[in-house]
């Protein structure tokens, strides 16, 4: 039974049995993992508040192969992000992004950039209020890291560059009008302003994303693009930030 040490951020936790918790973490070395924390709901437990959502901690876990779930042995807080959990609006926006990462990250597929991206959002939210526009840009950045970067420069089918192209969720990029025969392919229009913001977001360092300030119209358009694209990836509708914050 190998013992593994890793840093991780708590994405979510569920009650398990009478006094246990099933905690979902995102680790830079293991990706999204689920671990059982025995006795975590008891008054005198060894984990303290380290299993609260958004906590950045250092874990010691047992890999109980062939079982899918890890067993949590020890958890120490590196940064609690308590300030994020002390504000209703911050809880809502960060929960929404956490659910987004959880939904789109396959288990056991590690990505250091995804881990750092979530950490950057938590550090930003600790001090400032993350607007719905900024959350959208973090989602766009996440898609890039997760292998879903939108191809915006050329038509994904014929590789040519036309001035008026539309976004196809099923192809994950822009398509020109000759490649959309009789409008058979579902596609959405993307304004040049949105294209520019998206390109900038994909290129930019995650720590600098907060400097991009999209207008309300641009943000509305990005929300729609994300909605249709995520629907295509997941095969179901992902709840909007408004729904999470209801």
């Amino acid at each position: 039974m190998p013992l593994i040490e890793t840093d991780a951020i708590v994405l979510n936790s569920l009650k398990l049995g009478e006094a246990d918790k099933l905690v979902t973490f995102y680790s830079p070395t293991l990706g999204k993992i689920k671990a059982v924390a025995r006795g975590a709901r008891k008054v005198k437990n060894k984990y303290g508040s380290s299993l609260e959502p958004f906590t950045h901690g250092h874990l010691v876990i047992y890999d109980k192969k062939p079982q899918v779930l890890y067993r949590l042995f020890q958890s120490d807080i590196i940064e609690s992000f308590q300030r994020v959990r002390s504000d209703y609006d911050k809880i809502m926006t960060t929960s929404h992004f956490s659910l987004f990462i959880e939904a789109l990250s396959p288990e056991g597929d590690p990505s250091v950039p995804v881990f750092n991206l979530f950490l950057k959002l938590l550090e930003y939210t600790k001090v400032f209020e993350a607007s719905p526009g900024l959350i959208n840009l973090f989602k766009v950045k996440f898609l890039g890291y997760a292998g879903y970067e939108l191809l915006l420069d050329r038509c994904v089918k014929c590789q040519s560059s036309f001035p008026s192209m539309r976004f196809s969720p099923s192809l994950g990029g822009m398509v020109c009008s000759p490649c959309i025969p009789d409008n058979a392919l579902y596609s959405v229009a993307i304004s040049p302003a949105v294209q520019s913001v998206l390109k900038q977001t994909f290129k930019m360092d995650p720590g600098l994303i907060s400097r991009i300030r999209p207008s309300e119209e641009v943000n509305k358009e990005i929300s729609h693009i994300l909605e249709v694209f995520i629907f295509h990836i997941l095969g179901k509708k992902f709840p909007s930030l408004e729904t999470t914050s209801k």
């Binding site: 609260e52 308590q82 002390s86």
Partner: protein, 198 residues
């Protein structure tokens, strides 16, 4: 032993209770077997009674045998205070202390953005309705000190404060009886924030 017989069935049914595994259920089943028939009947009847006779109090949503629970109908209770809890089990725990003389409100859940539970899914509207008669001066939020409990407390504060009612939160921090050096950083910070003058 017959795996489909009445004894095996009792063991199977008892394992549905929290904290009761196969062995404990077996011990309980043998204990019931040794009882007088009347004692066993009383246990069975008590289980049936809580399912058939208990309802939620129409005012505070605590469990009760009558429409208005004993706490809500007690004229000696302090009607200027309402203590908000997640589940009826918390009312029992607080009542056992004998220190609180106000009223209660049971939400029967907590707001949980990660699990998709919104304010409309729990009994917050009923609490707001209870504040309409202006008799209540303070709402004490006693939800669990975890993220869902905190989210609920923050929402209640945001919603109730504009109505001119004082909203307070139970003290959070270090549990009684532990060595302070073993407390985690969040509990320590909370205990410093919630300090009181001696």
């Amino acid at each position: 032993m017959d795996q489909n017989g009445v004894f095996a069935n009792l063991i199977k049914q008892l394992t549905k209770l929290p904290g009761v595994g196969q062995k404990t259920a077996q011990r309980h089943a043998f204990a019931i077997l040794k009882m007088f028939p009347q004692e066993a009947r009383e246990i069975g009847q008590a289980i049936i009674d809580i399912k058939e006779r208990l309802i939620f109090c129409s005012k505070c949503r605590n469990i009760s045998e009558v429409e208005l629970c004993l706490i809500c109908s007690d004229p000696r209770r302090d009607r200027t205070k309402i203590l908000v809890v997640e589940e009826p089990s918390t009312v029992y725990a607080i009542e056992k202390t004998g220190e609180y003389r106000g009223l209660y409100h049971v939400l029967l859940g907590v707001i949980s953005p990660l699990d998709g539970v919104s304010p409309e899914d729990i009994h917050i509207k009923e609490l707001i309705d209870r504040l309409a008669d202006h008799e209540v001066k303070e709402v004490i939020v006693a939800t669990s000190p975890n993220m869902d409990g905190e989210t609920t407390a923050l929402y209640l504060s945001k919603t109730i404060r504009p109505l001119g009612v004082k909203v307070t939160r139970i003290a959070l921090g270090i549990p009684v009886g532990i060595d302070i050096e073993y407390a985690d950083e969040v509990s320590l910070v909370r205990s410093i924030e919630g300090r009181r003058e001696l």
